[in-house]
């Protein structure tokens, strides 16, 4: 059965500021889900705390708005218990790379089949504009009394180090491209990480929609804005890492990855940076030990008969402990 966009919309009033990049991301998630052919009730979306945390309430799917920084472990537990759920985690950059940084790494290392969408706006929106972990050194957004004294962390570099196997970056106001990225991320087997550049018009007065669009640097000849954001795919960038590739080819790709993800300021690439097919998913690793894991999931396990008697047979375990 084909789903419509409206199948993934709730009645809940969306209370983000006008012009917020979150609107574009929300639509992209809903459109991506509508295109996936997975029933809304088989889908669970988890969110962290902050403006982006409210996303779950606006999407008609099981929605779990968790704690600050903890979206990934909540999502991990649900997905492990029921590997047949479609699980998407969303959260802000402060949530995921500040308070939740340890979980960001943990999730990458596991490579469970989930998709994590990071709303990167460079500030803490809901607490009124403090610097987030991605804000670059020396930047002074309007909520700050002095320029940022910390270097900003590069989410895609951190994701590479952590072991995510699908890395992409999108732009909140390029919905058609973002829909594709999210869809690809969901379809990828393993942990997908999608960083979304998200203007926060209320507190980030530097990385605005106009700034990403290059309105401040018109082409001297045509007078037309020269957008900072450009498509990686247009440059012929190939993100695929396969087991067949030689060490040299692998190094070449990783070199490109580092070079492209380091670009910022005048030119900012978006698109798929890496699809790593050289490692197994966490589900596959479990299945090696528990072959029936994805068919008889921990979540759906029948633990008692009708009378409530446990289905477990303790006798082999007790036999191991026998001393008579």
């Amino acid at each position: 059965m084909a789903y419509k966009l409206s199948d993934f919309k709730t009645e809940v009033h969306v209370d983000w500021c006008p012009g917020c990049g979150d609107y574009g991301i929300l639509s992209s998630i809903q459109m991506a889900l509508a295109g996936l052919n997975v029933p809304p009730q088989r889908t669970a979306i988890f969110s962290g705390i902050g403006c982006s945390g409210k996303t779950t309430h606006y999407v008609k799917a099981y929605g779990v708005h968790t704690l600050h920084g903890r979206v990934l472990p909540y999502a991990t537990g649900a997905k492990l218990a029921n590997p047949n759920l479609l699980v998407i985690a969303v959260g802000g950059d402060g949530d995921g790379l500040g308070i939740g940084a340890g979980h960001f790494i943990g999730a990458g290392r596991r490579n469970l089949d989930i998709t994590y969408v990071l709303f990167n706006n460079g500030v803490y929106g809901l607490t009124k504009g403090q610097a987030s972990p991605t804000l670059k050194l020396g930047m002074q957004t309007k909520g700050l009394s002095q320029p940022n004294p910390n270097e900003g962390v590069n989410p895609l570099m951190l994701a590479l180090a952590a072991g995510y196997t699908f890395m992409a970056r999108g732009y909140a106001f390029n919905v058609p491209e973002l829909v594709k990225l999210i869809r690809q991320g969901v379809e990828h087997h393993g942990s997908s990480f999608i960083e979304v550049l998200q203007p926060c018009p209320t507190y980030n007065n530097l990385n605005t929609r106009d700034w990403y669009g290059g309105l401040d640097r018109p082409d001297p000849e045509t007078g037309r804005a020269q957008p900072r954001v450009y498509s990686l795919a247009d440059t012929g960038y190939d993100p695929l890492l396969t087991p067949e590739m030689s060490e040299e080819q692998t190094h070449e790709l990783l070199g490109r990855y580092v070079a492209r993800t380091s670009e910022w300021g005048e030119r900012i690439p978006v698109g798929v940076f890496l699809i790593n097919r050289t490692t197994s998913t966490y589900e596959e690793r479990i299945s090696r030990r528990i072959p029936f894991y994805t068919q008889q999931t921990p979540a759906e396990r029948v633990i008692a008969d009708e009378a409530g008697r446990p289905t477990v047979d303790l006798s082999p375990l007790l036999a191991e402990l026998r001393v008579s």
Binding site: H57, T311, R322
Partner: protein
């Protein structure tokens, strides 16, 4: 025969990593294979190699439930053990030592705490007029009537090496077994159950079994040849029994309970003394299921997830519970501190979540491998704001097992976090028990909306009991939302004052429902003489020591009752009050500084428990020190202010 004499306390010590644990394990099993019952307590440092650890194994022909201070036989193969424990051996008891160490001076016992060294120097030089060597410790022990037996480990090993053609250097780990064998031989215990224990512990390793068995035989021969004249007053005799028994630790008992309860996901972060439970579960990830005879054995999955920290552990378990799994986490105080925000999330979202909390000495890192009951007040209030939780404390290994099942039933029935309160003393206690029975066990999954329909279903629909039928992630028609914010009936955020009131009241009602439904027998136990004037009140692991002390005091003509509080929240205040009012003198016994249960009882019932016996040196309450303290208290008047708080200090 009075209880005193049918019980033997065997104590082995040694450097951590030198095989003390496996030696004690073999001895305990050897006793069990001879039909005897065992209670073992392990004490160790937060260290991997070198620091002193010891194992106390109590053996009797009846069930035992607590460690004691006094040892009947001390088994050593290093110097520290002799220095630290020789004074614990009772007169006419025995001491096994390595004669090569006789010259070892106190200062060479490197891993010893400075305070212990000073006290020993004082004992040897000032009190005994001896020098500071191990030989002097032996001499002082002999002077008290202790039989001391030198066992030349090196020579025995050499003999074994020559006989079996094994390199001497590879036999180092056999020394602890020689010590065990020597102790068994001196206790005139037959060799056969010891060999059975070896076969069980080293199952599948025929060569190891053969070598170790030969080592035992050589030691038995040596003891027979060398100490024919000098016999220990105590000996150990196998008893005939047709009872089936298992030997297991507290963490294994909890793990087995979780498996029986159908727990299918446990998330944890390594922490002493909780980790052994998760390791056991992980080793049993393929859970055997009952299957009709003749059909192939069926199995189920138990996922054990080692997370990046305790916050991830509790939140992953919560995610799994939302998906419908029976999910748990297992931790100790420091880890639980990190979990408190997520505890509140599970509370406001009405998630069935089980937390096994093994208390250890606090605050902060505290005493990582030592016991304490210091977290009662903490678990009652952990997390900001107000939300329902149930707290159940187990007092022995059998309760550990059954309570581990019970907490899952409560978590699902009342859709809220349940804390299973345990401690280090229980976690590392080893005990022989009849195999656990699932006969009377019933699993209760609580109210579920299996037939929920889209557009109508409201996860947090108002109900009189406070409990609303639950759906799980992925279920058709049962869609819900969760949030850590206050929510409406569907689970969406609200700040509406009326809805807030309703939701607070709905959640609070669940606790009242639980208090009404849970049978009294699961809330507390009353032991001893119910009409006794003196009532002991306690909770958790001191249970075993209290029951033994009760027996000792009864034999001396004192009649007491013992109220063991199990359900600590919601506290069955009215029932407790009625019982407490019946006693003239009330004494709280707790493994903490302030008497936390006594305080809680005062808060909830208005009754002041006048006398406290507490212990906070990180060691469990020992039955002999407790009976002494109780006797002293009974000799005072209940209102005597000098006896309001007695601090127990024994243990090494």
């Amino acid at each position: 025969m009075p209880a005193e004499q049918s019980r033997l306390t065997w104590l082995i010590g040694g450097a951590q990593g030198s095989g003390v644990d496996s030696a004690a394990n073999i001895f305990a099993r050897a006793c069990a294979f001879g039909g005897l019952q065992v209670y073992a307590q392990r004490e160790y440092y937060s260290n991997i190699m070198g620091k002193h650890s010891y194992y106390q194994v109590a053996v009797a022909d009846r069930a035992l439930g607590a460690p004691r201070d006094q040892a009947d036989l001390l088994v050593s193969f290093d110097a520290e053990t002799v220095f630290l424990h020789a004074r614990q051996v009772c007169a006419s008891g025995g001491l096994i030592y390595d004669p090569k160490l006789a010259e070892t001076p106190l200062e060479r016992a490197a891993a010893m705490e400075e305070r212990a060294r000073t006290s020993l120097a004082h004992y040897l030089v000032d009190e005994q007029g001896l020098d500071e060597t191990l030989g002097s410790m032996i001499q002082a022990a002999q002077a008290r009537g202790v039989h001391c037996f030198p066992i030349p480990y090196r020579e025995l090993l050499q003999k074994l090496a020559d006989e079996t053609g094994t390199a001497l250097s590879s036999l180092k780990r056999v020394i602890n077994l020689l010590a065990v064998a020597a102790s068994c031989a001196l206790l005139q215990y037959p060799l056969e159950p010891l060999l059975r224990a070896l076969a069980a512990v080293f199952a599948g390793k025929a060569k190891v079994i053969k070598l170790n068995s030969r080592a035992c035989e050589l030691t038995y021969q040596y003891v027979a040849d060398s100490f024919a004249g000098e016999k220990l007053a105590r000996h150990l005799e196998p008893v005939e029994t047709d009872q089936l028994r298992i030997y297991l630790t507290g963490t294994e008992a909890v793990a087995l309970g979780k498996i029986a309860a159908g727990c299918s996901l446990q998330a944890y972060y390594p922490i002493s003394p909780a980790t052994d439970e998760s390791s056991y579960l992980d080793a049993h990830a393929l859970v055997p299921l009952k299957s009709p005879p003749g059909e192939p054995a069926k199995q189920a999955a138990l996922i054990v997830l080692q997370t990046e920290d305790e916050i991830a552990a509790i939140t992953a378990a919560t995610g799994a519970a939302l998906a419908g799994a029976r999910a748990a986490t297992s931790t100790s105080g420091p880890g639980f501190c990190l979990m408190t925000e997520a505890l509140g999330w599970a509370g406001i979202n009405e998630v069935p979540l089980v937390i096994s909390l093994y208390q250890r000495g606090g605050p902060s890192t505290g005493l990582p491998t030592r016991t304490e009951q210091g977290d009662l007040r903490f678990v009652l209030h952990a997390g900001h704001g107000e939300f329902p939780r149930l707290v159940l404390a187990s007092g022995d290994l059998s309760e550990c097992f059954h309570d581990a099942i019970r907490v899952f039933n409560w978590a699902e029935r009342y859709q809220t976090p349940v804390i299973h309160l345990l401690d280090k003393a229980l976690s590392s206690a080893g005990q022989t028990l009849p195999p656990f029975e699932l006969e009377g066990v019933r699993l209760d999954r609580g109210l579920r909306a299996y037939e929920a329909s889209e557009g109508e279903y409201r996860r947090f629909a108002w109900s009189e009991s406070g409990i609303s039928p639950r759906t799980v992630l992925g279920q058709a028609g049962g869609m819900f939302w969760n949030t850590g914010d206050e929510h409406d009936e569907t689970g969406h955020i609200t700040e509406d004052p009326l809805v807030r009131d309703q939701m607070m009241e709905k959640r609070a009602r669940k606790l009242q429902t639980a208090a009404q439904e849970i049978p009294e027998a699961e809330k507390f136990n009353l032991f001893g003489d119910p009409d006794a004037e003196t009532m002991i009140v306690s909770w958790g692991s001191p249970k075993g020591a209290i029951l033994e002390a009760l027996e000792v005091l009864k034999a001396e003509g004192h009649s007491l009752s013992f109220l063991q509080v199990r359900l600590l929240w919601p506290l069955p205040a009215r029932a407790l009050e009625a019982l407490l009012r019946r006693a003239k003198r009330r004494i709280a016994v707790e493994n903490n500084y302030s008497g936390q249960l006594a305080g809680l009882i005062r808060e909830q019932t208005g009754i002041k428990i006048e006398q406290l016996i507490v212990k906070y040196n990180g060691r469990p309450i020992l039955s002999d020190e407790l009976s002494e303290a109780l006797k002293a208290l009974l000799a005072t008047k209940p209102g005597d202010s000098s006896s309001q708080k007695v601090v127990l200090t024994h243990g090494i």
